[in-house]
Symmetry: C2
Subunit: 318 residues, 2 copies
């Protein structure tokens, strides 16, 4: 077996992450970057209030994955989950379209309790991470609500989870509406101001990464500060590994390809990483590297994180 | 076996109830009074916000008992309950001093969701009762928050559940503080305006019944409208059947006896029912009847409800 572990470096790494794909890459990075040098900034654009609780799907997926308690089959939710409460909610005529397991509910209950006591989402996330024995910093992109809305082709404007879960991302997307005037926390700004490397995870560019870049002044900091911004394509072999990225690209009139993702990120990204499957078709202006980017298990996460970091260091030292 | 069932009457019965004792008598009444003629008005003074949810302990105890899903051992909470979520909350460093079971949580989640959609507590309670197949009307005393506070002898002012559950009702009670300007709902007012009989359940007079009477204009309606107000003593054999009633009476300088309860209710009550165990010691001004009032099981609830209603009808026809 190849030893993919890099020598421990002093590079400060920030990873921008959405849900499942972002969580996997972040978990791989957590195995090779010293915890004090790794910060994961997570999309909160798909957070919502449900059953009285603050639910943060991407934050939770990243936390559960890094804590090793995620459901390995779904990629979200908790391993060994049960559904007693949600089944009882359904019997009481409550909404059960967004399935919250008994273990998962504990996260939302604790979060909502601590927020009710006046703690910020950043502080609550730190509290939860500490109890889940997670060492790298996991930061919500903002402490303000920053709801992503989906304008569908049939003229409706839907909150993200309504579109994504309740309507199973079927209504065609006309436009993604991101909120104005959302500000990053001091903690996020400090992490980016001192970052050497920023890695944009293979998350959905439109509803996972754009909501983060939309938070002031994250995009500007990415343009100015780090020595290198690396992005990993969420499109492999012309398809999304999971979720609606490919469908959205089609509906918004884009080609569904790693090339189109690279063009979409444009000058913001210094180094673009796409999958070897797309090597024949890929056409890009800037620096780009083809790697095997599928993360099917823990070994895959470690391999991809290591290769992405290695390629980034080679770019830096070139 | 004696047939305690009365002939169905056209008397409209309203029962004022707190938690366990009130729920038992209400469940007995529900077996003999036609549902359209029975209304249970429930204390909401010990409701509180916890883990982001609206928790209504007395309403839930009454609902669960009437639905036949209450935990028969504790008298509160649900039968066949499990604790997966609460155990996970504890592991996440959340508060676990108020134990909410997996099934019970579904009630609070559904309630909080529906309130968030703009429904009143009255409407939400109707929704929950309908899904629990409960026929008599169960009404919160008010749709406004009406928190009961406990002034303890050591100078603190505690929210009711903090005193009752978190501190296990140990801090001596100096005074019970009820909120001003709480108004009854139209539904409660209408029920009392058309009531023939009001039965005050054997609940704690100070923290279950007084909070109801404190809601405007419930006390005045009780004085004016019904043909008879019957109260059942929660003190049996000089002791509280359950909970802090006896301890509170002592700490507030009262004698612990059915006599003292009758004196406390005073002219508001037309007919006072105390237990046969107290027959030797009972001294009261007005009409009073000694019955066997212990409700140890379903048969006991039916027997006490029937005897109380029978005694009330005899008082009316005397």
């Amino acid at each position: 077996m190849t030893d993919y572990r890099l020598p421990i470096t002093d590079y400060r790494v920030v990873c921008l992450a959405g849900g499942v794909g972002g969580a996997k890459l972040a978990a791989g990075l957590a195995e090779i970057v010293p915890p004090a040098n790794l910060t994961i900034i997570v999309n909160t654009g798909d957070d919502f209030q449900h059953l009285g609780l603050t639910v943060c799907p991407d934050l939770d997926t990243v936390m559960y994955t890094l804590a090793g308690v995620a459901n390995p089959e779904t990629g979200w939710g908790r391993a060994g989950e049960s559904w007693r409460t949600m089944e009882a909610v359904a019997r009481l005529g409550g909404p059960d379209w967004f399935r919250l397991g008994d273990l998962d509910l504990a996260t939302h209950l604790t979060r909502t309790q601590l927020q009710g006591e006046g703690q910020t989402l950043t502080a609550v996330t730190r509290h939860l991470c500490s109890h889940l024995h997670i060492q790298p910093a996991i930061l919500p992109m903002s402490d303000q609500p920053a709801p992503t809305m989906i304008a569908s082709a049939d003229g409706r404007i839907l909150p993200f989870q309504t579109w994504f879960v309740r309507e199973r991302w079927q209504p065609p997307v006309r436009q993604i509406i991101l909120p104005e005037d959302v500000k990053a926390t001091h903690t996020v700004v400090r992490a980016l101001e001192t970052a050497d490397i920023v890695i944009i995870a293979p998350s959905n560019p439109f509803v996972s990464i754009d909501p983060i870049l939309n938070v002031y002044p994250i995009r500007a900091l990415l343009e100015d500060v780090p020595q290198v911004v690396t992005a990993v394509s969420p499109i492999i072999g012309g398809q999304a590994v999971k979720g609606p990225a490919a469908k959205m690209m089609q509906e918004m009139g884009m080609e569904v390809s790693a090339t189109a993702v690279a063009a979409y990120y444009g000058d913001l990204v210094d180094l673009f990483i796409y999958d070897r499957q797309d090597a024949g078709a890929f056409v890009g202006r800037g620096d780009a590297v083809a790697l095997d980017t599928m993360m099917l298990d823990g070994d895959g996460r470690l391999r991809v994180a290591t290769d992405v970091l290695q390629a980034t260091l080679e770019y830096l030292n070139a």
